[in-house]
């Protein structure tokens, strides 16, 4: 039976009390395919990729300036000539400029996180936004280095959102060409040893060469999955095929500076960095060429059976259970392969799966999922300001910062810790206090969970000393911790 509470809380991002539960859950989900807006106002107003690129250029300039000043003022005796107690910023005015630029990058990041939050809280198509978050985490970047901090928002808004109802292959192409990904996994600086740039560097005794990081993670994480039938030789060959895929401008490399003509800070194919020759990957030969050689490999990977299995497993894990039923994975896999990676077909197969409508909520919410659903339940339309970043980070899941290209885990074991639960209780008390005037908490609970609310939670709410306390208890109830 397809319960509306499940459509809203498991497929969507959590019910909003004012909206009421949908009459036909299946139609409500499918209808979102037609109503989805990849660029709703909040996202359209978020910092754009060119803005991020400009901020990064300023940051790089400040850093360069600082280096030059330090070199010019360095006394022979080095740091010992400086008074030890002087303020570092006084000693080095360029450091102050760099600090300001770095703050600008963090501001871009915070604005992007806020935009993601507003969309999640107000979207008329929450199933679609959940899928955006899913894919964004599948193709994870981690905002730790300055370029990735600045471009993390653009990565989700420009590479993921427009393709969430397209084909897997199109999303894969957009993701791997995005400057945030090219920078995060070191692809932008990977040089074919036999390319003109590689040869020149070798002749000058400099070391510039191949970096296999992106190639490896595409195979292991984005497409085939670990143990997906590739070996170290395939990784090396794929890395060589991808050489030349880089980021325009920003660097002091002449070849990349010339490529800046296209889109500053955007994708650029730099022929001088590309390793010449044919490549053999997974037994298939790829003709010598330029930019299209790497793309041909991506196309093969997007249509590969191992990719279908990997994607199906992750999708089923996200919606159904930490250890997804093999029969469901197999049906999703078939849907993916038969429709050539058409994502709406895959989502339809998921909606049609009885396993996805099991009345027992098997998924323990991640901190992000819990925060979004708690804010929606309390009628919020923005994340708590001024510290948007701190809010989610304190719950244990900094947005776009999983710390690894594998993304955040999607299993309870990673999130259901004692301290994590205590933090939710602390946050729930604050959110409930902010949401004064929501009225009778039992009515709120009924609006969120309909007939599925457990007796224990209903009792706890009924006995609460105030509506505020009742709301806090609702937000940390077993019903609300899972979906």
């Amino acid at each position: 039976m397809q319960l509306p509470e499940i459509a809203v809380n498991r497929f969507g991002l959590g019910a909003r009390p004012g909206e009421g539960l949908p009459g036909d859950p299946r139609a409500w989900l499918l209808g979102q395919f037609d109503r989805y807006d990849p660029r709703p106002p909040a996202i359209a107003e978020a910092p754009s990729q060119p803005e991020a690129a400009a901020a990064l250029a300023d940051y790089a300039a400040a850093a360069r300036e600082g280096r030059m000043q330090r070199n010019a003022t360095a006394a022979p005796s080095g740091a010992a000539s400086m008074p030890a107690d002087a303020d570092p910023a006084m000693r080095d005015p360029a450091m102050q400029a760099r600090r300001t630029e770095r703050r600008n990058l963090r501001d871009l990041y915070a604005q992007s996180v806020a935009a993601r939050g507003i969309s999640a809280l107000t979207t008329p198509t929450p199933f679609m936004d959940r899928l955006v978050h899913f894919w964004s985490n599948h193709f994870a970047i981690s905002a730790e280095k300055p370029p990735v901090i600045a471009m993390a928002g653009s990565f989700e808004f420009d590479a993921i959102r427009p393709h969430v109802l397209g084909s897997f292959g199109d999303m894969l192409r957009a993701v791997e060409r995005h400057p945030a990904m090219l920078t995060y996994l070191d692809q932008a600086q990977s040089v074919g040893p036999g390319s003109p740039a590689g040869q020149r560097a070798g002749a000058n005794g400099r070391t510039r060469g191949l970096n296999e990081n992106l190639a490896r993670e595409i195979l292991e994480l984005h497409t085939l999955g670990v143990r997906g039938g590739y070996d170290q030789a395939d990784i090396g060959e794929f890395a060589r095929a991808l050489t030349g895929w880089s980021v325009a401008g920003g660097a002091r490399r002449p070849a990349r500076r010339r490529a800046a003509a296209a889109t500053p800070g955007g994708f650029a194919f730099v022929p001088a960095m590309h390793e010449p020759g044919t490549r053999t990957i997974l037994g298939r030969t790829f003709d010598a060429g330029g930019e299209e050689q790497g793309q041909a490999v991506l196309d093969m990977l997007a249509a590969h059976a191992a990719t279908a299995h990997h994607v199906a497993t992750k999708l089923a894990r996200h919606f159904v259970a930490d250890t997804p039923p093999p029969a469901l994975v197999s049906r999703l896999e078939q849907a993916f392969l038969q429709a050539d990676g058409d994502l709406p077909t895959l989502y339809r197969a998921l909606i049609d799966a009885p396993e996805a409508w099991s009345p027992t909520p098997a998924k323990f919410k991640t901190p992000w999922e819990w925060a979004v659903s708690a804010l929606r339940a309390t009628g919020a339309e923005t994340f708590p300001t001024p510290n948007v970043l701190g809010f989610v980070t304190q719950l244990g899941q900094a947005v776009w910062r999983p710390g690894s290209p594998a993304g955040f885990d999607d299993v309870a074991a990673s999130w259901a810790g004692p301290d994590a639960v205590m933090r939710r209780v602390e946050v729930a008390e604050r959110l409930a206090a902010r949401a004064q005037g929501m009225g009778d908490t039992s009515a709120v609970a009924a609006a969120l969970f309909g007939g599925t609310l457990t007796a224990q939670t209903a009792t706890a709410i009924a006995r609460a000393e105030s509506p505020t306390q009742g709301l806090a208890l609702l937000l940390v109830s077993p019903d609300f911790m899972r979906r």
């Binding site: 730790e144 070191d186 600086q189 990977s190 040089v191 040893p193 590689g198 070391t207 510039r208 060469g209 191949l210 970096n211 296999e212 990081n213 490896r216 292991e220 670990v226 143990r227 170290q232 323990f364 701190g390 304190q394 244990g396 710390g403 690894s404 594998a406 309870a412 074991a413 990673s414 999130w415 259901a416 810790g417 004692p418 301290d419 994590a420 639960v421 205590m422 933090r423 209780v425 602390e426 946050v427 729930a428 008390e429 604050r430 224990q456 939670t457 706890a460 006995r463 609460a464 000393e465 306390q469 806090a472 208890l473 940390v476 109830s477 077993p478 911790m481």
Partner: protein, 382 residues
Amino acid sequence: MIDRRNLLGTGLLGAAATLFVPRIAFAAVPTDKRFVFIIQRGAADGLGIVVPVGDPAFAGQRGMLADVAEGGVQLDPLFTLHPALAQTGQLYGAGQALFAHAIASPYRERSHFDGQNVLESGGSGPYTVKDGWLNRMLSLLPPDDARAMAIAAAIPLALRGARDVASYAPSNLPQASDDLIERVSMLYQDDAQLHGLWDQALATRLLTGDLAADNGRNAAATGDLCARLMAPAEGARIAMIETGGWDTHAGQRQRLAGQLRGLDAMIGAIRTGLGAEWANTMVLVATEFGRTVAINGTGGTDHGTAASAMLLGGAVKGGRVIADWPGLAAGSLHDGRDLRPTTDLDSFIAGAIAGHFALDPAQTRRVLFPQAQEGPMVEGLV
């Protein structure tokens, strides 16, 4: 002093030690022993940490990174410690730090996530064992000593399993009111999962008191926090700290130095914070695998095989590097690119823990690493 093969295997020293050190399969008597596992996620470059500057092939392989050990503590004719590990180097001088090199878990592929799964689960392959070796270790200790805690918001795999484990990470959130706490306890009464988690959370809340105001964002604060959770008699005896950022594919010189400064500060803070209990403490530092011997084209190194590991603490028989050194010449490398593993990390960990808690080494290895082949133990570490 260089210890090579003489400490590996049940050689003379190991056999002699067996005669004098009491060992029992299950430690029945409570002790004051403390154990900390610091995991280095991302494949830390052992060759850049415990640097084999004395290997004739080293400079050629490392090129622009060949000078990274300059200014560091010379450990022996072969190895010099990275200079960012200043406090760790002092521990070595005091005989309280031991390094193992060319060491690896049974995992021989190069995926971080599979490698960490093997390192933490203690299986011989990824996803072959469901719980973690540090949790299974608790079953070998008397109940009073088996209090473990993850210095993290969620519990890492090494500590997951049948035994209850607490977790704690610094939070700037205001504490929830006592009345709400009490009502949540009632609300979770019938929920098997949340009930257990909540009991743990409440126990930790009592223990930490005003620590919630502490700011543990940097490594030293985390080390200090760990020490404060472990120093009291009723505190945690086993702890695990996660560190990330070791995946130095590019710009390794600056990035690894920064990482090591943080690790050094963390170790220093643990030692200082534990005070007299440092004498009863063992700290293990280990990573999922090492990095390529040669540097890559972007001033970094790629995923490799053997790495280095550290044992620190007043209870450690330190001041030495244990390595059956395979050499860095092209012909000596694993798969033609990596440091060849010659010491088994599982046996090293089992040997260290058995020595520390006075347990039977073979039994300890069977429990911690149930799929390990019977083979030579690493003994005499304590």
